[in-house]
Amino acid sequence: MSTKNAYMDTIGRKLAALAAGFLLTAGLAASTAALAGDKSKYEVDGRKSGYLYSNPETQAIEDDDFANGGMLWVEKGAELWKKVDGKAGKSCASCHGDAEKSMKGVYTVYPKYVKKLGKLENLEQRINRCRTEKMKAKPWKWDKDNLLAMATYIGYLSRGMPMNVKIDGPAAPFFEKGKEFFFKRRGQLDMSCKHCHIDNAGKHIRADLLSEGRGGGAFPAYRLKWQKVGSLHRRFKGCNKNIRAQPYKQGADEYVNLELFVKWRSRGLPVEVPAVRR
């Protein structure tokens, strides 16, 4: 492809910039190796991760923790885990101890139904509820560094584990709403998610190769376009805006329901956080 050279240039610059963060992430990278190597794990029962639709240069960055810019947020998340904050004088570690033990697998089951709230809650919202209820601290803002770092860190601790959200019982009506969202046409361009990610996955739309829009084990993902990690809800907003639809706010019930559907579509796929995408 004729873009390759220009693209490689960007990657080259990116790699150089990240070399600085090399030493910083070395310690963590040793504990949970990237999923590199066997690519067959990115396909489960015919469901393919966005990884398999990424170009080889982008895959190579994800495969290498030293090159993966998202690792900086993992590192920061690990620091925040131990940091005391709020009027209760507690850190995450005060209640949950060693995150590598207590948080393993947690990412794979969110969003989940919370009886007390009478609706679904996703990982970012769970983190913030711990902050407000248990730590008496202020909630962190969506897609700002602290919340991104904690969500990325917790995602990272489930790396390689299969996505496994629950959609039955009290979660069922919310799952149905998420599914409805996915198939509903919207915006001036009048498209639904399925028009791009089911009907046309594997085809180019201008310069972009459409994936299956699963992304369930990938976010927060490091997007080269964003030059940082971003939430799945930020990705939803982007997809909505591209078709000139009014997006929702990150954390809106509509997006949390959609997240459950999207993560169910990713069932069995390995957690990749922080995945790298274009």
């Binding site: 873009t3 009048d190 046309n200 180019h204 739309i205 201008r206 310069a207 000139r244």
Partner: protein
């Protein structure tokens, strides 16, 4: 992919059951003479579409809009630019057009359009641009001249079609030149 009843109508036009180069109107007149195509005959009746604030237009047989939306001839040079412009037609997002290879990255979602003028009369192209859902209700291709019945349109774009009537005519004028044999 094309399995809905309107798509079957398209097949009838495509597969030479009807003379391709005749105008859609003439073709539809021919249709009424064919036995066993009752569904098509019913659908072939004309209907006038009045979309909020837009110029009303007449759809014939769910396949064609015979009359120009503006009565003014289109400008093919402008049409070509509109087809590449990401904020306007952005047709290249989905269609490959060899005659537009000066623009990079042609999509592969819809059929190639490099020979469209040989295969499709202007009347049918006009309908495809105004609202392709007449032909395929499940299509990904946007309706470029439609404002009613849309959901959660971003404020900035509310009540406005993607293209104006004249822009549609400009694009048709350029599409009219797309023939591979010449």
């Amino acid at each position: 992919m094309l399995t809905s009843p309107p798509a079957i109508k398209k097949q009838i036009f495509r597969e030479g059951l009807l003379p391709m180069k005749k105008s859609a109107k003439a073709a539809i007149a021919g249709l009424t003479g064919l036995a066993g195509l009752a569904l098509v005959v019913t659908a072939a009746q004309a209907k006038v579409i009045k979309d909020d604030g837009l110029t009303p237009y007449e759809v014939v047989g769910d396949v064609a809009i015979p009359k120009s939306l503006t009565g003014k001839p289109g400008d093919p040079a402008r049409g070509r630019k509109l087809m590449a412009n990401r904020k306007k037609g952005n047709c290249l997002a989905c269609h490959k057009i060899k005659q537009m290879s000066d623009f990079l990255f042609h999509g592969e979602i819809g059929p190639e359009l490099s020979d469209i003028a040989t295969n499709m009369p202007d009347e049918e192209i006009r309908l495809r641009l105004v609202n392709p859902k007449f032909v395929n209700p499940d299509t990904i291709m946007p309706a470029f001249y439609k404002v009613e019945g849309l959901f959660r349109v971003k404020k900035k774009f509310r009540g406005k079609p993607i293209l104006t009537a004249q822009e549609i005519e400009d694009i048709i004028a350029y599409m009219h030149t797309l023939k591979e044999s010449e």
